[in-house]
């Protein structure tokens, strides 16, 4: 998914992931524990500690430049609100609400335990917890669960056709959402308190898909359309009291919430969470510095970073993300239909320079592979670094110029499409300068972030080179390689063609299918296969990985118990303001 983009963007990403491929259950391994962090830097605060009642209470004040659209958890597809939903909504499963690598672990949430998987991985049976109530006082039942699965299709959730299209009956639901029943796909047994989900084929990534907000359980009577600014009742510790996208979102405690699983849905600390919109990023920084706000959503502007890192170091939290920024090279049009020209760009791009433009080495690191470091399947390797090596060290401009000469593409026009924010634009200017050095006639086209991501996907716009980024939906190598570079993800003429380079290699595609199949029985072996696929794709050079970004959370002095989930970022409800 793209971090800053909204519903349409992420939908497009996942249409590409249509892989209704056979998969096997897999959960992330956990390797770290540790303790919660106070207001310290570069920490993730992993581990789930006991509730500290002395810190309960107060109002957490958050600020953002803009709201993120609909508050409907089955519709909204932005990191901004997915982060909030962790303290509001629940699904049958959830990503563990903790810091560090363990936050990739899927744990039972509304279900009493992990599902019983039968029928060769095609049937998942869940037992629903008893005694859980929605914020409107209504008890949670199996009917609500079944209705919520139906609602995914009725509201045309962005991931309905991708994450959940493997449920039996999903095809009919996609064709006629209003008549969706999933009668054989999702079956509730009220007396036994169980819900059975039947898939058309085994899907090892299905537990991940059940742990994201689109699989949240909402009351049966919820409208079969986007709830928009009208909040739906929640099961988590907080509920929305009011929401005006132009002004603020106010969360208060769900009076009916009782903690059932500290891992799945822990009790929150603040009594209220006020999320205010409309400030400039500069004023957000000042507000946090002055203690008028407790946290800012937007990345701090470049000219305030040094100040934050020195004067306010104890309030800054820097964490690496499983994401990468990359250049897409259109393999179907000149000059990048020529492999040598594509490789030339990979050799030429100074990743260190891009790191500097992003904010320095403590906010990003050079990338040479598609899978980010620490991600399943990642293998250190770098085909395009001066002098060779497994990690990137320096560009080789001489070699790049030689390749451009060999390719016979020098002198051709290349349009660079970037988003028009400060960081993207400055990287774009650098690329324009670099391509001019290589002998191309480069022009820069900065577009608003609202449209750039869809614009660069549509082949009608004849985009030759674009700067974009990809942030994981869930921790699986296929979420990068299969989604971004498979033949199935390339849809010419559509705004939903997340394979922006238009790369389609039948051999590599077959190997991706094999890796997915292997994952059904042997995830370790599958990850090894993904690692090799990553390296082989890079040999073809359809993309240029440039950096792996980090995120900076800037909190006020009074904030404590900072925890960073690798899956959904800072755990909002776990912050102390008392």
């Amino acid at each position: 998914m793209s971090r800053s983009t909204r519903l349409s963007t992420r939908r497009s990403a996942l249409v590409a992931a249509t892989a209704a491929l056979a998969l096997s259950a897999a959960a992330c391994s956990s390797s770290d524990d540790g303790s919660a962090s106070g207001p310290t830097s570069s920490s993730s605060g992993s581990g789930s500690s006991a509730f500290r009642p002395e810190h309960k209470g107060g109002t957490l004040r958050m600020v953002a430049h803009a709201a993120a659209g609909s508050l409907d958890p089955q519709v909204n597809y932005t990191l901004q609100y997915w982060q909030l939903y962790q303290s509001m909504y629940d699904g049958l499963l959830a990503f563990k609400k903790t810091g560090g690598q363990q936050s990739f672990t899927v744990v039972p949430d509304l279900a009493t335990a992990m599902p019983k998987v039968t029928n060769s991985g095609k049937t998942y049976t869940f037992t629903l917890r008893k005694g859980i109530k929605f914020s409107n006082g209504k008890a949670l039942t199996t009917d609500d669960v079944v209705a919520s699965f139906q609602r995914i299709f009725k509201v045309s959730s962005p991931t309905a056709g991708t994450f959940y299209n493997g449920i039996v009956g999903a095809d009919a639901c996609i064709k006629k959402p209003a008549d969706c029943t999933l009668d054989k796909g999702v079956v509730g047994d009220a007396s036994a308190g169980t819900v059975t989900v039947n898939l058309t084929a085994a899907d090892p990534e299905f537990p991940y898909k059940l742990a994201v907000p689109h699989a949240s359980v909402v009351p049966k009577g919820s409208p079969a359309k986007d709830a928009g600014t009208k909040p739906l009742p929640t099961t988590g510790p907080y509920m929305a009291a009011s929401y005006d996208p132009n002004r603020a979102l106010k969360l208060v405690r769900n009076p009916h919430f009782k903690e059932w699983s500290r891992e799945g849905q822990p009790q929150g600390y603040p009594d209220k969470i006020d999320y205010t919109f409309g400030q400039t990023v500069e004023s957000e920084v000042t507000a946090v510095q002055n203690g008028q706000a407790d946290w800012m959503y937007d990345p701090p502007p470049a000219d305030r970073l040094n100040e934050i890192g020195t004067k306010y170091a104890s309030q800054a939290h820097v964490n690496p993300l499983t994401a990468f920024w990359y250049l897409t090279l259109n393999v179907n049009s000149a000059p990048f239909d020529n492999k040598l020209a594509r490789q030339a760009i990979n050799w030429a791009v100074d990743r260190e320079a891009v790191v500097r433009l992003y904010g320095g080495k403590n906010l990003a690191s050079p990338a040479c592979t598609i899978l980010p470091p620490g991600f399943p399947g990642h293998v250190d390797s770098c085909d395009y670094t001066k002098g060779g090596g497994k990690t990137w060290s320096a560009p080789d401009l001489a070699k790049a110029k030689e390749l451009v000469k060999k390719s016979g593409t020098a002198g051709q026009e290349v349009g660079i499409v970037v988003q028009d924010d400060e960081v993207n634009k400055s990287i774009g200017q650098y690329l324009q300068s670099l391509l001019t050095q290589l002998g191309y006639k480069a022009t820069l086209k900065p577009l608003s972030g609202n449209i750039q991501f869809t614009y660069i996907q549509n082949t009608k716009n004849k985009v030759q080179l674009a700067l974009t980024s990809w942030y994981q939906d869930y921790p699986a190598a296929s979420d990068f390689l299969n989604v971004l570079l498979s033949c199935a993800s390339f849809h010419p003429g559509s705004d939903s063609s997340i394979n922006i380079s238009g790369f389609c290699d039948k051999g590599i595609d077959a190997r991706m299918r094999t890796a997915l199949k292997t994952g059904q029985t042997d995830q370790k072996s599958a990850d090894q296969q993904w690692g090799t696929i990553d390296q082989d794709i890079m040999k073809e050079s359809p993309v240029v990985p440039v950096i792996n970004p980090k995120i900076i959370d800037f909190t006020s002095k009074r904030v404590g118990n900072y925890r960073f989930s690798k899956q959904f970022y800072m755990l909002v409800g776990q912050l102390w303001v008392k």
């Binding site: 040094n306 934050i308 100074d350 260190e352 433009l357 904010g359 400055s426 001019t436």
Partner: protein, 342 residues
């Protein structure tokens, strides 16, 4: 400020220095206007020397990124963009002014480019666009104003309504709209073709939006002139309309048009800066004072010089142009000076 210039008898012409010479003499006696002209001359000459400065003094390419580049300060080699080494080590700060003409005199922008060199090249661009757009505006505005005022009737009605429509739009809104549209594919208007990244694109846009500002006052002036005896005499003598406009009307509106020139140049420069600041004017890697201000926007807290320097130059140049414009007006239209009590 109109002034009817009737053809003088030959003998009179020999005795009098003539209106143009008088105007130049008046202008040279106007101290503020003279000072403004000197300031403008300095700015123009310095900006014209941009390649000299970049190639032979600073030894830098102001259009190329030097993100990983180094320079020499006090004999030490330092990175042009310095990563923070204190605290959490967040952020990268471009080198500030060194006051050494050979090494980043005014510091660097976020691409590691020499701000001083870009300022000079930017000045060339801003002045080129300002002057060319103003010239185009004045020429087109004068032609349109004279035609509408002299022809009258349906021709005047059509031209006036078109001018009204252009005038009805807020200037900057119209300029931004035109720029956004034309920046995609450039301008294709019959034989007129301007590429999207060309400097002529902002020139054409700015010239077009300011035409009513020149054409309408001149049209009013021509409406008055048309009823003057010497025009009526020319018409009565059977002179063709085009000849009357060229020989009788035009010479009488040219002083007004000339007064417009420096004022329109200032306006055009300000508009260009605004458009470039909004990314819809001059396109990278070309520089103008507006684009340099935009480049400096993200460095306001750490390197304000990147924004302040072009801002000051814009202010200085436009103030000088306005003062000069006032002087030209006073010189060409003494009655206006008398009316203003100067």
């Amino acid at each position: 400020m109109s002034r009817a210039v009737a053809p003088l008898p030959t003998t009179e012409a020999r005795r009098s220095p003539g209106p143009w010479r008088t105007a130049v003499a008046d202008l040279s006696c106007n101290r503020p206007a003279t000072a403004a002209a000197v300031v403008l001359l300095i700015v123009v000459v310095v900006c014209l020397c941009a390649p000299l400065y970049a190639d032979h003094i600073a030894h830098t390419d102001p259009f190329q990124s030097h993100v990983s580049g180094t320079t020499v300060v006090d004999g030490k080699t330092v990175p042009v963009l310095t990563p923070s080494s204190t605290g959490l080590g967040l952020g990268v700060t471009p080198i500030g002014p060194t006051w050494d003409t050979a090494h980043y005199f005014l510091g660097s922008d976020n691409q590691g480019r020499d701000v001083m060199a870009r300022l000079l090249y930017g000045g060339r661009t801003s002045l080129f666009i300002g002057v060319t757009a103003a010239l185009l505006t004045v020429v087109i505005g004068t032609a349109v104003g004279v035609l509408a005022g002299y022809a009258g009737g349906a021709v005047d009605a059509v031209i006036s309504r078109i001018l009204d429509v252009i005038w009805a739009f807020p200037v900057y809104l119209l300029a931004i709209c035109l720029s956004v549209v034309l920046l995609t594919d450039g301008l294709r208007l019959g034989p007129l073709t301007v590429d999207a990244g060309s400097l002529w694109l902002p020139v054409v846009i700015i010239a077009a939006i300011y035409v009513p500002y020149v054409a309408r006052p001149l049209r009013g002036q021509v409406l008055v002139l048309r009823n003057k005896e010497f025009i009526q005499a020319a018409i009565g003598s059977g002179a063709p309309a085009l000849r009357v406009m060229r020989r009788e009307v035009l010479p009488n509106v040219v002083p007004t048009a000339i007064v417009f020139l420096p004022l329109m140049t200032a306006l055009a420069m300000l508009t260009e800066s605004a458009l470039s600041f909004l990314s819809v004017g001059v396109q990278p890697p070309d520089a103008s004072w507006g684009t340099i201000i935009e480049d400096g926007l993200g460095l306001l807290y750490t390197r304000p010089a990147v924004t302040i320097a072009p801002g000051l130059l814009i202010a200085l140049t436009t103030v000088a142009l306005n003062v000069l414009g006032d002087g030209v007006r006073d010189a060409l239209d003494p009655s206006a000076r008398l009316r203003g009590g100067v």
